[in-house]
């Protein structure tokens, strides 16, 4: 009887102690607040619950040059916040050893709602996306193994991984998850357009007229709330004979996908110049000229653009006024996302 009692209490003790050890890990949960009227995010938060600690780690990784071979290129060096996380004023970005990328850096915003990544949709999960620029010879040019080893040898990272994931195991999966935690919170939903839609502001006349023209001519491929339908389309950009980029066909190998590229979001379009998958258009005026005059029509040209897109100078003026209302200055300046903005307050989404 006495022995049984001892065994029983020993078992109980083991269970209590093991429970107590696990309880030491208490990260602070964060929530992605879905703006009113937006669909549910596609990103699976069940396998990667958002926490303040995970976000902080992701942000440190995002701005850490050690993710590249020579230490010079962080994610943030080509994805600058003030340019909606594109590369300001660069058709193509600079990578390792003076190499150029082959495509224009895309804006990083509202990524939790994207199913595929890259202009050709080749990457199918946000966690996997950073591995492409990290390993590309003309971008960060590093091996995943080296990156993980660099992180493992850093005491701060061991602490941060432990805070985010419960122990100091550092692996590719955790690095990807942490980067995703930072990236999914890059939500842009507070432009003037959004305020107008919420009834908090009003368009001035050219903006309103531009909005009406937009709804007639642009909305099929650039529908709200993301201002892209995330589809792949050929909008008549002639093949560059150096890049020879066939777009979606690179991934599907089907000729019907030749020269199709993902429709970019127009949110923050005023600060994401240059435009086009290879950044060949330096201003919005170039883009409008392309659509009304310079489009190259071919067998895979989008059916909505078989006759190009007639636009008058008047329409172009009003459209530009409307497109400027898609600039979300709160997002572009949000200190939670900036390299130096190191306040320790939990991020809160500005959703009204």
């Amino acid at each position: 009887m006495k022995q049984l009692k001892i065994i029983f209490f020993f078992c109980l003790l083991v269970m209590i102690v093991s429970g107590w050890i696990n309880d030491g890990f208490k990260p602070h949960p964060l929530k992605l607040i879905v703006p009113k009227g937006w669909p549910a995010p596609i990103y699976d938060f069940k396998t990667n619950p958002l926490t303040q600690e995970g976000f902080d780690l992701g942000k440190k990784l995002f701005y850490d040059g050690r993710l590249s071979r020579d230490g010079k290129f962080s994610c943030g060096s080509c994805h600058q916040q003030f340019a909606a996380f594109t590369t300001m004023d660069h058709s193509l970005s600079h990578g390792f050893n003076n190499a150029l990328t082959t495509r224009n850096a895309p804006a990083l915003q509202n990524l939790a709602w994207q199913k595929t990544f890259m202009a050709d949709g080749g990457i199918t999960h946000l966690d996997l996306q950073p591995l492409a620029p990290i390993t590309a010879e003309n971008e960060m040019a590093e091996t995943i193994e080296n990156v993980i080893n660099k992180l493992k040898s850093d005491k701060d990272y061991r602490k941060l991984f432990k805070a985010a994931f419960g122990n100091d195991t550092i692996n590719t999966q955790r690095m990807g998850k942490a980067l995703s935690q930072f990236m999914v919170l890059l939500v842009s939903s507070n432009s003037k357009y959004d305020r107008v839609m919420r009834g908090e502001d009003q368009f001035i006349l050219p903006e309103r007229l531009g909005y009406e023209i937009f709804n007639k001519k642009c909305i099929n491929c650039h529908p709200a709330p993301f201002f892209t339908d995330f589809n792949f389309r050929n909008v008549g950009l002639a093949v560059d004979d150096v890049l020879n980029d066939l777009g979606r066909m690179r991934v599907t190998r089907q000729s019907k996908d030749s020269l199709l590229f993902k429709v970019p979001s127009l949110r923050n379009v005023a600060v994401t110049a240059p435009y086009g998958h290879d950044g060949r258009f330096f201003s919005l005026i170039n883009v409008f000229e392309h659509y009304r005059k310079n489009m190259v029509l071919g067998p895979t040209t989008d059916s909505l653009l078989k006759n190009r897109m007639p636009l008058t100078n008047y329409e172009i003026g009003q459209l530009r006024a409307f497109l400027n209302t898609l600039t979300d200055s709160a997002f572009l300046r949000d200190s939670r996302f900036s390299e130096s903005g190191g306040n320790n307050k939990p991020p809160t989404n500005h959703v009204h």
């Binding site: 890259m118 990457i123 199918t124 999960h125 390993t135 999966q173 690179r250």
Partner: protein, 237 residues
């Protein structure tokens, strides 16, 4: 029920939970892989000749095996959960695989060469499936199922290299191969041979001089996968 029996019941229950993993009958099946180029054992760095008379030096040979299913004498099948292995000629430990099973007399072993689409589609994996193993296409999401690469004077590619990276899990480019090996005896370990000559000349003749490079899913990857699906056989003891 008196106090004593309550304690003993709880005690037994707790101990059962704690030790159930050890109590259930488990047997270990050990597979040992041996790599060949025709009749000769494959040695990385040695010059060999393929079935078309092309000279080559193999520098890298590795492949994923996954989703093992065992069948016993009565026809009962058991899927081995989480069975993912990366067999690498350069890493002798990786050439021995152990599977836990409750089956007794195993008469067949089934597995995939490659990785199922679920693991291809659900973010970053760990262990042998970590993209750090350099068996993953970062630009076009998906695992490289098998790699055979090296140098050959027959190759017209840069530095006379040949690089066969085979993968693809989507419809139309699915290079996953299901293999079934029948066992006639129960000796352990089970010795399995893999002959790289199958890569070149099996269902499709693939010459290094004509196709030295495969770096993406597609027709050549499918042909190579067809070919290497014949590379395994059980070695007689």
């Amino acid at each position: 029920m008196n106090k004593q029996s309550v304690y003993s019941v709880i005690c037994l229950f707790v101990m059962f939970i704690l030790f159930s993993g050890y109590i259930l009958p488990q047997k270990k099946i050990k597979l040992q892989f041996h790599h060949f180029a025709g009749a000769k054992p494959l040695v990385l760095g040695d010059t060999i000749v393929n079935p078309f008379g092309e000279k080559l030096v193999v520098e890298r040979f590795k492949y994923y095996l996954s989703n093992f299913i065992l069948t016993d004498l009565s026809g009962k099948k058991e899927s081995i959960p989480n069975s993912y292995f990366l067999v690498d000629e350069a890493d002798s430990a990786s050439k021995t695989i152990e599977l836990n099973t409750s089956l007794k007399k195993i008469i067949a072993i089934e597995f995939m060469i490659g990785i199922d689409s679920i693991k291809n589609c659900s973010g970053i994996q760990t262990g042998v499936l970590d993209p750090m193993k350099a068996m993953f296409w970062t630009w076009n999401t998906g695992y490289v199922f098998a790699k055979l690469e090296g140098q050959s004077s027959a190759s017209k590619s840069a530095a006379h290299r040949f690089t066969y990276h085979v993968g693809g899990f989507k419809e139309g480019e699915n290079a996953i191969k299901k293999i079934r090996l029948a066992l006639t005896e129960q000796n352990q370990p089970i010795h399995v041979s893999a002959d790289i000559n199958s890569w070149f000349n099996s269902r499709h003749p693939i010459k290094i001089s004509e196709s030295p490079v495969c770096h993406a899913p597609g027709p050549l990857a499918l042909q190579l996968a067809d070919n290497y699906s014949n590379m395994f056989s059980i070695l007689p003891k």
